[in-house]
């Protein structure tokens, strides 16, 4: 950790970054995001197993974007998210300094996204067998039973949108749930509105979700959203051979766009 702290302090001291996003221990002992702007704050830095939150989500935040150069401590999921965001044209060149700590506790500062691409390729995340078991169990049920399962789960959603807020891939400045001409998704958190919301979100995340499972972690109602994302991810891999957060270039299975599209509505 000392090596990491030194690195962060060094980046701040040399003005290579104006803010560094990492973790620290909160008053209640919970690990939370930290935003260091001065080297003398870095002693609070924390990195360890409890540091769960995917910090990549903060690169979208307007208050963070105000800083000219941003440093970020990225675990493997944040790296995948950042790479996917880069592929989706969401990260300006030379804006981020991305730092990680590898399994040997070595601090790595990435020079560019190609380096991140190869780092990720070498550090495959093992498939979580428990999660796979949960999915297989669900798949073994009849269609009706599966329907019942999801009706029960999704009816309890309170539409707090914590899952969307924590998700590094949910960055639309106007989410579909906020569009009302036409009203695509029912606003109230009744069963129908909740189904519409989650089906829409899952479709938008197909092949973009980098599987950090933050949405499940933060859901106040304990809705197992990761079962949906994981299943969609594995379908995408099987059907189209695509996995999100692996490449600097973009290759969407379900949608496409061109930067120079002559239609205006897309911009």
């Amino acid at each position: 950790m000392q090596e990491l702290n030194n690195k962060i302090a060094e980046l701040l001291t040399n003005n290579l970054v104006s803010i560094f996003i990492s973790y620290k221990k909160g008053l209640n002992g919970k690990i939370k995001p930290a935003f260091f702007t001065k080297p003398n704050e870095v002693y609070e830095n924390y990195f360890g197993d409890e540091a769960q939150q995917n910090l990549a989500v903060y690169v979208h935040k307007p208050e963070v974007k105000k800083y000219s150069k941003v440093g970020i401590l990225a675990n493997i999921f944040a790296l995948k998210a950042l790479l996917q965001l880069y592929a989706e044209n969401q990260i300006k060149d030379n804006y981020l300094t991305i730092v990680t700590v590898n399994q040997d506790n070595k601090v790595i500062v990435f020079a560019d996204f190609n380096e991140i691409e190869s780092y990720i390729a070498q550090h495959q995340i093992e498939k979580n067998t428990n999660k796979q078991k949960e999915i297989n169990e669900l798949l073994s049920l009849s269609r009706e039973k599966r329907w019942e399962f999801w009706v029960e789960q999704l009816s309890s959603c309170i539409k707090c949108y914590a899952c969307r807020a924590i998700c590094p891939m949910c960055y639309c400045s106007k989410c579909t749930v906020e569009l009302n001409q036409p009203q695509w998704i029912s606003v109230p958190a009744h069963s129908l509105g909740n189904f519409e919301w989650h089906i829409m979100r899952m479709m938008h995340l197909a092949c973009r979700c980098i599987n950090c499972q933050e949405c499940s972690r933060v859901c106040p109602m304990n809705i197992p959203l990761h079962l949906l994302t994981t299943k969609i991810n594995s379908d995408m891999e099987e059907e189209f051979g695509q996995i999100a957060g692996m490449k600097t270039t973009l290759d969407f299975a379900l949608n496409t766009f061109k930067v120079d599209d002559y239609e205006n509505f897309i911009r």
Binding site: N28, K30, T37, I158, V187, P188, V218, P220, N222
Partner: protein
């Protein structure tokens, strides 16, 4: 601060083993009984079915019991097309509800919530539900680092807002304080289960929650905090979701939405939160609270400043739910301490 509930009317005891009977009797009488239930890491209130799925092991439920008075979605009116015009109908009155297992801070929270909805222009559905709801509070034996009832003038022994307050006094017994007519009536309906008792000193049976901050000092200085530069840096983690407001027993904000087919429809009220960016967005695109730090400040100042001015009471009861639920580790206690430090 106003104490709006009367003094204790009566004392009883109830055998903990008899809870099952008590619950089943209530269920049989046709009332809706809401009890804490567990689903993974979440505890929430849901209709009683069986004593086995009632959860007793919780510091505080994840979701507050406010939906008993102010559900996440409810009908305000319904309408039907009728020969070029409309027939508009009001929602029917719901059946009697008993909430079991809320904490003393929640009872105060719900009292604030109903006072807010019923003052000046009284809210129809909240009033009907309030009249039909009896609160059986369970005094806390334990607390965690996010509880701060004592810092906002309450304690695990408070009876404010409760109709009946139960305290586990050991030997398999609940000590019951019957505080209101509603509570008295409920006990009378199930009198065989309750035995008469003398007033006891509860202090030794409830949790001793340490003080986190000085709320008198906070109330005194809150006007000076609006322009503090700390809001911005402290709110950087905040992601602008609705989690803190939706789990909070005293957050009352809502949205109104119509849903209809070509023949008929409803006008629904659903929870909303001042943390959402679109909460204040004008049709013109102008946003009076354009950034998250403005929204976070509004939430904290509403709890500790605005409601003191408007309703002569804090609108935070120290339940700690917003802290436990926040996906980004935002902590209202930290924010207050930080403001007070300056």
């Amino acid at each position: 601060m106003k104490i709006l509930s009367g003094k204790i009317m009566n004392y009883k005891t109830l055998k903990i083993d008899n809870l099952d009977l008590f619950f089943n009797e209530i269920k049989k009488s046709g009332k809706n009984l809401l009890v804490p239930k567990k689903k993974g890491k979440t505890t929430y209130f849901s209709s009683f079915i069986n004593i086995n799925d009632v959860e007793f092991n919780y510091i505080q439920t994840t979701i507050s019991p406010k939906s008993a008075l102010f559900p996440k979605v409810e009908e305000l009116i319904s309408f039907k097309k009728d020969d070029g015009t409309y027939v508009v109908t009001e929602p029917s009155i719901e059946k009697e509800t008993i909430v079991f297992g809320l904490r003393p801070c929640d009872a105060v929270g719900l009292e604030y919530l109903s006072n807010f909805f019923l003052n000046e222009k009284s809210d129809f559905t909240v009033r009907l539900r309030k009249e039909n709801t009896t609160l059986i509070t369970l005094a806390c034996k334990n607390f965690d680092e996010n509880c701060f009832c004592t810092s906002v003038g309450l304690s695990p022994a408070s009876i404010k807002g409760s109709d009946i307050c139960l305290t586990d006094i050991g030997n398999g017994l609940f000590y019951a304080e019957i505080i209101t007519d509603k509570g008295e009536k409920l006990i009378a309906e199930h009198s065989a289960l309750f035995s008469n008792a003398e007033k006891i000193n509860k202090e030794s049976y409830v949790a001793q929650v340490p003080l986190k901050f000085d709320s008198d000092n906070l109330i005194k200085n809150i006007k000076n905090y609006y322009n503090s530069e700390k809001w911005t840096i402290n709110s950087l983690p905040c992601l602008g979701c609705g989690a803190c407001a939706f789990v909070c027993p005293t957050c009352t904000c809502f949205n109104i939405e119509d849903e209809a087919n070509p023949v008929c429809g409803t006008r629904l009220r659903c929870w909303d939160s001042c943390a959402f960016g679109i909460f204040t967005l004008h049709a013109s695109g102008h946003n009076p609270r354009p950034i998250q730090s403005n929204r976070w400040r509004h939430r904290v100042l509403h709890k500790f400043g605005y409601s003191v001015t408007n309703m002569d009471t804090l609108s935070c009861v120290g339940c700690g739910r917003c802290i436990r639920v926040c996906p980004a580790g935002m902590n209202i206690i930290e924010q207050i301490l930080d403001l007070q430090e300056a």
